[in-house]
Amino acid sequence: MKKDYLENIAQNYDLLVPKDKETLLLLISLAKKIKSGEIEQEFSQHDFETSLFETQNILQRDESIQFENISKRLSQYFYTTIKDTETPYQLTVYARELCDLIENQIEPEYAKLSLRQTFKRTLPLTDNDILNIENFEYWFKIQFTTSKKIINAHIENLQRFVDSQISELGSVLKVEFENVKDKLEAFLQTLKKVSEKSEDLTETLIFKTDIIKKIQTAEEIFKDNKADWEKYITIQNEVTYFFENIDKRVLAINEKIQTARIRLKSLFKELRYKRQYKIKLEKFLQYILENSKNEKGKITLPINILKKHIPFSKQSLSIIPNVDFGDISPIKPPSFKIDEKFEQEQKVKAELILKKQESIAKWIGKIDKLLQSGKNIDYSQWFNLIYEEEKQYDIPVEVCYGLIEKYSKDENNKITINKNSPYIKKSEIVLWNMKIKPLNF
């Protein structure tokens, strides 16, 4: 249903809402004339056209506004016609209420009414009002809702006025000093009056407590009937919420006024200094905006505005993260069958390599001892000797390499290798004759 309702409004929008300034002003002009008695509630085409002409003058339009066009737009919701009469036009309730709403925004009528009087006569809840649900609903819809509009309008008006005054106060710091004190004095007086108005509003609403209490007493009357009870609760909640909302808004307004008054009083004492300081701040901002640069996305201040530092010591405590391993099943390596034969072969192989290395080290050690005792070494003989004992060529060859590596850069021993008279041992190997001679002996 909600969707249909909204779609309906969308379709009829152009007819529901005054389309432009001309239409709205025309309506308001007619409504005002009817209120003041200048024209009758049922008015003629001449009255219609005259108001249209006046609207045209107010808006200073060169072209005349077409009566037929406007009339057609307004005919759906804003006026009705009666046939066979010289005064066939009559504004609808919708048109009149719309005009009243607008008028109250611009020139609030209610402001002239005493709020206290309005309240006293319309808002209080009598025993008759809570006699039954129909009376209670009537009080809520007619009296309470009407008063609610007036109270809300008063508060909105007060809020708007306070905001505009405070906003205007800001300009005080910019005017010539000689006029400022008078202006401040005037502001103080205005704020004092506004404050009094706000206090008046608060006092007027004091008897809201009576209303709320009265509604609470009505609980006994409505609790036995479910339908009545639901209506009662709805009304009670709305009334309570409304007064709470009013309290908050009035409190906020009072706080603003008080803050402004305190600051205004303190401003008197330091006005000249504050104005000058404010001006300097503005100039400083202007200066840094004009002279700062944006280079490759980096903003830099003018060079004569130095960097500033403040004490800063960030403290952080390292916390070792709590890693909860929870229930974890350890992963075991898979068991596999050992190849014992292979393992044995590898073992033998390793032992052979180790043995070979031991032999090499042993022979090098022996030769080294002889060299240290001053003996010359003819390696060809040693080659033979090592081969005879070890029964393999690897070891004497490795011993030879070992000796060359050790003594080739040794200053105390000299290696000579004679390539011209090789020593041949076996057909499969040929040796150059290598001698090592100690030099210090």
Partner: protein, 219 residues
């Protein structure tokens, strides 16, 4: 600076056991303490033991615990001496970046303008300054390099908003602003925004001389 009894007996008080640690963590990280929000209690604590705390920080750290006010609203912070950083040498200081200086001066100006009002600022207020104020071109040249463009792309706007938000987050840590709604960039400027004016006191006081000198150099 008077050197009182250095045993700092005030630390044995019950209120010190409750508030000193929190105060110390906050103030040494550059925070400005004022009577607002979650700092209310440590503000009261500093106010009660100001002289003791002042002595404490000077004796042990070689820095000053200052008490300043902005339109009669007080705030406390740690500060260096004229030529001495005490124990806060090396990395124990925070440089106010150039961007931060510019935005802080802007916020300070807004604070002073709103002398009679609340100091709440929303993103649209800042955007309005950048796009519609008298200094619109200067702001746009500063942020977008090209101040002559009529419009800036959504990514450019978004980037600017992110940059400003980052700066404001830093100010929140210093206590210069207090978030009302961070996601909407809605905040209240704190009295301690005045600190930026204290840091640049000489430049602000002598701005007329500086401007005249720079203009003369250009001509």
């Amino acid at each position: 600076m008077e050197h009182e009894n250095k045993t700092f007996e005030f630390l044995n008080e019950e209120s010190s056991k409750r508030y000193f640690a929190e105060l110390d963590f906050a103030i040494r990280q550059g925070r400005h303490i004022q009577e607002y929000g979650k700092d209310y209690k440590i503000y009261k604590y500093i106010a009660s033991y100001y002289k003791h705390l002042e002595n404490y920080y000077y004796s042990l750290f070689g820095i000053y615990l200052r008490k300043e006010n902005n339109d009669q609203l007080f705030y406390y912070f740690l500060d260096f001496g004229d030529d001495d950083k005490g124990k806060f040498t090396g990395s124990r200081s925070l440089e106010i970046s150039d961007k931060q200086v510019i935005i802080a001066i802007l916020l300070l100006n807004l604070y002073k303008e709103k002398f009679f009002e609340d100091k709440e600022i929303r993103w649209r207020d800042i955007e309005n300054i950048f796009e519609n104020s008298e200094q619109k071109k200067l702001w746009q040249t500063l942020f977008f390099k090209d101040g002559s463009k009529r419009n800036y792309s959504p990514p450019e706007h978004e980037k600017l908003k992110e940059d400003i938000l980052k700066i404001l987050k830093g100010f929140d840590k210093l206590g210069w602003i207090a978030w009302i709604d961070k996601s909407e960039i809605h905040f209240e400027i704190m009295p301690s925004i005045d600190r930026i004016a204290k840091l640049y006191k000489n430049e602000i006081t002598n701005i007329d001389t500086i401007s005249t000198y720079i203009n003369a150099e250009r001509n």
